[in-house]
């Protein structure tokens, strides 16, 4: 597992994890081997009347992410991500992006088998 997407309130590793997936401010894409990061703004999803979660899923797929770290994911986005084989770790809000990555690397997180949120828009 090399490329991780983390929902984030800002572009850096010390920014806080944004608990939302579909309407998150943006994504920090991390290459775990080099620890290089890239930030993708999620403004395009936020303006959508519906389907923001699916739009966000497309964004991280295009970025080559293999795993997602976030707070919560709704059912449609969950379905979209799972269909292309992206692993999802939920409930990682309340900490920084760096801390979420540490948790992931230490192996103390569980890959989700279902969305932990009912859908919004």
């Amino acid at each position: 597992m090399r490329k991780i997407a983390v929902t984030s309130e800002g572009p850096g590793l010390d920014d806080r994890v944004d608990p939302r997936f579909g309407r998150t401010a943006g994504f920090v894409i991390v290459d775990l081997e080099t620890m290089e990061t890239r930030y993708i703004d999620n403004g395009r999803s936020q303006i959508m009347a519906q389907g923001a979660g699916i739009q966000a899923a497309q964004l991280i797929v295009q970025a080559g992410a293999e795993c997602l770290l976030t707070g919560y994911v709704g059912p449609k986005a969950f379905q979209a991500l799972t269909a292309v084989g992206i692993q999802i770790v939920q409930d990682l809000d309340g900490m920084t992006v760096r801390e979420a990555l540490e948790r992931f690397k230490s192996g103390s997180v569980r890959v989700a088998d279902g969305p932990n949120r009912e859908g919004g828009k």
Binding site: I47, M48, R117, E118, G120, K121
Partner: protein, 292 residues
Amino acid sequence: MREIVIISGKGGTGKTSLTGAFAHLAANKVVCDLDVDAPDLHLLLRPVREREERFLSGYEARIDGERCTGCGVCASLCRFDAIREGERGYTVDPIRCEGCKVCVAFCPAEAIRFELRHCGHWYVSSTRFGPMVHAQLFPGAENSGRLVMVLKQQARELATAKGLDLVLCDGAPGIGCPVISSLSGTHLAVAVTEPTPSGRHDLERVADLCRHFQVAFAVIINKHDLNQDEASRIEAYCRERDYPVLARLPHDPIITRAMIQGLVVTELPEAAFSRELTSTWARIEALMNGIG
């Protein structure tokens, strides 16, 4: 932080009047009017606006008259009957335009612009009962529930920022998008119904909706004295389904009198109705504590 939404299924049962009273009785909360189509709570709470934001959602097509060649491909493809022929080519009726982009994609002359739609405004305000988040869609605008989600998000952020532990929402009638969005992330839906055939019919549909989305559900029977037999039938239905009945309230013109004065009914404390509402709110709080 907890969230309660007061809904009704059928309009006119007294949802907003009761929400206004609960806004008075509840401590430490943000009030949120999620009926963005026809909001009324502000008529009781008289909010002072502190922040105003445009609500942009979806897109609409606009044909550039200069570039239109009058070929009519757009009109033939539009499934929403939104494109009509005029004197200078074709035009899009913004009221009917669904924002699907088909005409834009297929126009051979690339004569159609696709623009963000300004659908309304939302506000963060202060009231004599605390902070309030509310909105107004422009008449005829799409009501996808997106604005409802924006308001809920704002209310939650405001509650967190101010250390308040409750978001109290006035919901919308019906069972469509806006109501579904209202229920997202809610801890308790309280349905206000009335003992009429429509009241009962619509209560059952909104109860099914809450069951579908696994939201805890409780009922207030308003205007129960209009038809006590029907009120009892509603209670029997609730017992069968294990929905707590929080109150049986009488039809009382004092609600309208308070409304005319721009007050919630509990601001007229001498009214028997106000005392009943105070006990009803206490029961709602007890129920919330039980939900954990």
